[in-house]
């Protein structure tokens, strides 16, 4: 992630908000706070039956610990800033997008179609242009994996367009 505070003409007061340490700490604290809120919605054991601590106490303590340690990390980072990370390349976002494609396709169409699509997207955008190799990673290899799991390990895959053809 680029630290904007180093760029020319940037308001130095606002630069604090663009530091990766601020953003990461902020995200951890927000998520932890939301989870902490949820711990207050857990059912309580009636006092007469309660032995020891309530089920919510341990997660509450953990979340508070995470928040305190994150604040500590953030304040330490003001003195010893985190190293600047390089901007993430397009190939990363495409790989991430391919995960989303896999989730949607495997949920609504077919599990193996999802794997095949992800494989072809990743392989192509990571630089593979040869059709033979694209077929190898997107069709032949997933097919080998399917046969291995289905026949040798006796696994039944979720129903879908292609899987249903196999299962009849």
């Amino acid at each position: 992630m680029n630290d904007v505070h180093n760029e020319k003409g940037t308001n130095k007061g606002l630069s604090l908000f663009f530091k990766s340490s601020f953003i990461v700490s902020g995200v951890i604290i927000v998520i932890s706070s939301v989870l902490l809120y949820f711990t207050f919605t857990f059912d309580l054991v009636p006092p007469i039956l309660n032995r020891g601590i309530q089920p919510a106490t341990f997660p509450k303590a953990l979340l508070i610990l995470i928040i305190v340690l994150t604040l500590l990390t953030y304040f330490i980072s003001l003195k010893n800033p985190w190293k600047d990370e390089k901007k993430l390349p397009t190939s990363f976002y495409i790989t991430l997008l391919s995960f989303a494609v896999f989730i949607i396709v495997s949920k609504f169409f077919d599990f193996f179609l999802g794997i095949a699509l992800l494989s072809i997207i990743v392989s192509y955008f990571w630089g593979e242009r040869r059709a033979t190799y694209l077929i190898l990673v997107s069709i032949i290899f997933p097919l080998i994996v399917f046969v291995f799991f289905e026949t040798i390990l006796g696994l039944r895959f979720p129903p879908g367009i292609i899987t249903n053809l196999y299962y009849g």
Partner: protein
């Protein structure tokens, strides 16, 4: 000690020998491939082990561990890229020696010192694990709680990352273990109305996600990386003179590696760095280090392989993982219904000594396979990432799905992959998450049961001498990285 004869049992089981053979080959392949390694590889193979009996499953994982730790040296020497983090110190002298046209000599020394280190550490494991396990007979719930806390505080000094970040990651791991029905009251926690979450989040989606999928995302940012490869004409034995120069270093590093391996949450990476530094300190020619010193290779490789057996000591005796890969092995033990600890030593000696024997055989196997197959294994690095990682994804997805036949597990795996990627990017190690997840149930369970025993009086913990000792050790473990950092800052 009357069970020592059981060590040779795997030699008479063709099934275990086949598992060992494939585990060693698979471990070597994983070790050679930068970004994979025995931890990620172990995570990938975990779902498949469900089709094996518990002993074969753990033998497979330990063979991968031993061979994978050595395999990292092959790429460290030939392409200056450590196949595993534990082989980072091997690059310092292995690659310069390979550039001088002596890749075979470097590889030969790495193999011999790895085997000696590995065998020495198994001997340590055979003798120390039962002793440590016997000590655990004195443990009640409060002592186990204190021990688990000690195991967690050691996270502060794991790897090169910030101690506080490691503790945050460890706490996150424990938090994951609280998802699902509370084991004492059956009250739902963090299930958000999703039925699949009531059983909790399984180890496999988290382990595969944090190691394999996050590595896939990391590799997606490195697709233009180019390796300089050194041609390997032949693997030759180091000369007698080389052995004369290095035997003391190998023995010293084997001791260092075994000791560091025993410390919870330390592992091969720390061991190899210390082994390398000590080899340099004791060398008659320290000026040669970094330029292709044969002692440097021996020091690093003997130490990192010696850490394998050492790390298995707390894993098997106490259920506290000694390294990242043993955390995966511990996961394997748990999902196969094997609970490490003193009872395991008393009730299932054939299981434990089978593991010890298999580790010994794995070391001998990778000596043979490593020596004669290094040239072939080195060619595996030629498989481009653009083909390799989609295949790993397919195996990861099917492996994760296979355990509970749950698509939610696959989604969780992807979620943890993304979380793991960003954790690593911002300096949070993913290993503490796994250790936290493994120890989470132990920490919460023993704490709550102790409080029931103590009638809610927390101060009673301090009246238990063993528990108190572990709390003091925990404080020392927590303050050690801070003192180290302060000293470093003072020096600067």
């Amino acid at each position: 000690m009357e069970n020592l004869g059981l060590i040779f049992a795997p030699l008479f089981s063709y099934k275990l020998l086949i598992v060992l053979f494939f585990g060693t080959i698979f471990g070597l392949i994983l070790g050679v491939l930068p970004g994979l390694g025995p931890t990620t590889g172990g995570a990938l193979i975990l779902p498949f082990t469900m089709t094996l009996d518990p002993l074969s499953a753990i033998v497979l994982l330990t063979a991968i561990y031993c061979a994978g730790t050595y395999g990292g040296a092959i790429t460290a020497i030939l392409i200056n890229t450590p196949g595993t983090p534990a082989a980072a110190a091997t690059c310092l002298d292995g690659y310069p020696l390979a550039q001088k046209g002596e890749a075979g000599r470097a590889l030969g020394m790495a193999t011999v010192s790895s085997v000696i280190g590995g065998i020495a550490s198994v001997i340590v494991l055979i003798f120390f694990a039962p002793l440590l396990a016997n000590l655990a007979y004195e443990f009640g719930q409060p002592e186990y709680f204190a021990l688990a806390i000690f195991g967690l505080t050691m996270l502060a000094s794991i790897g090169e990352g910030s101690p506080i970040k490691n503790l945050i990651a460890g706490a996150f791991g424990i938090l994951i273990s609280t998802v699902g029905k509370d084991f004492m009251t059956s009250i739902d926690r963090f299930t958000f109305g999703i039925n699949e979450l009531t059983e909790g989040i399984g180890f496999i989606p988290v382990v595969v996600g944090l190691f394999a999928i996050s590595e896939m995302l990391t590799q997606s940012t490195l697709i233009n990386q180019i390796f300089n490869r050194v041609a390997l004409k032949a693997v030759k034995l180091p000369s007698i003179d080389d052995y004369k120069k290095t035997w003391k270093t190998i023995i010293r590093s084997s001791g260092i590696g075994s000791f560091i391996g025993v410390l919870p949450a330390e592992g091969g990476t720390v061991a190899s760095l210390i082994g390398y530094a000590e080899a340099k300190r004791w060398s008659k020619k320290p000026e040669d280090f970094g330029k292709g010193s044969i002692e440097g290779i021996a020091g690093a490789e003997a130490a990192n392989n010696a850490a394998t057996g050492g790390a298995m000591v707390p894993t098997l005796a106490l259920g506290i993982p000694g390294s990242a890969t043993t955390a995966v092995i511990l996961t394997g033990l748990i999902i196969h219904g094997v609970r490490p600890g003193p009872d395991l030593f008393r009730e299932q000696p054939e299981f434990l000594y089978g593991i010890f024997g298999s580790m010994l055989i794995a070391n001998i196997l990778f000596f043979v396979l490593g020596f004669f197959g290094a040239k072939i294994f080195a060619r595996i690095t030629l498989v481009p990432n653009k083909l390799l990682w989609p295949m790993i994804f397919a195996v990861s997805v099917c492996g994760t799905y296979s355990l509970n036949q749950s698509i939610i597990d696959v989604w969780l795996m992807l979620l943890f992959g993304v979380i793991g990627f960003f954790m690593r990017r911002y300096g949070f190690s993913v290993v503490p998450v796994i250790i936290g997840l493994i120890l989470g149930e132990l920490v919460e369970g023993t704490l709550r049961q102790s409080l029931v025993i103590f009638d809610g009086n927390w101060l009673m913990f301090l009246q238990r001498p063993i528990a108190l000792t572990f709390f003091v050790l925990s404080l020392i473990a927590l303050s050690f990285p801070l003192i180290k950092r302060k000293k470093k800052n003072d020096k600067v």
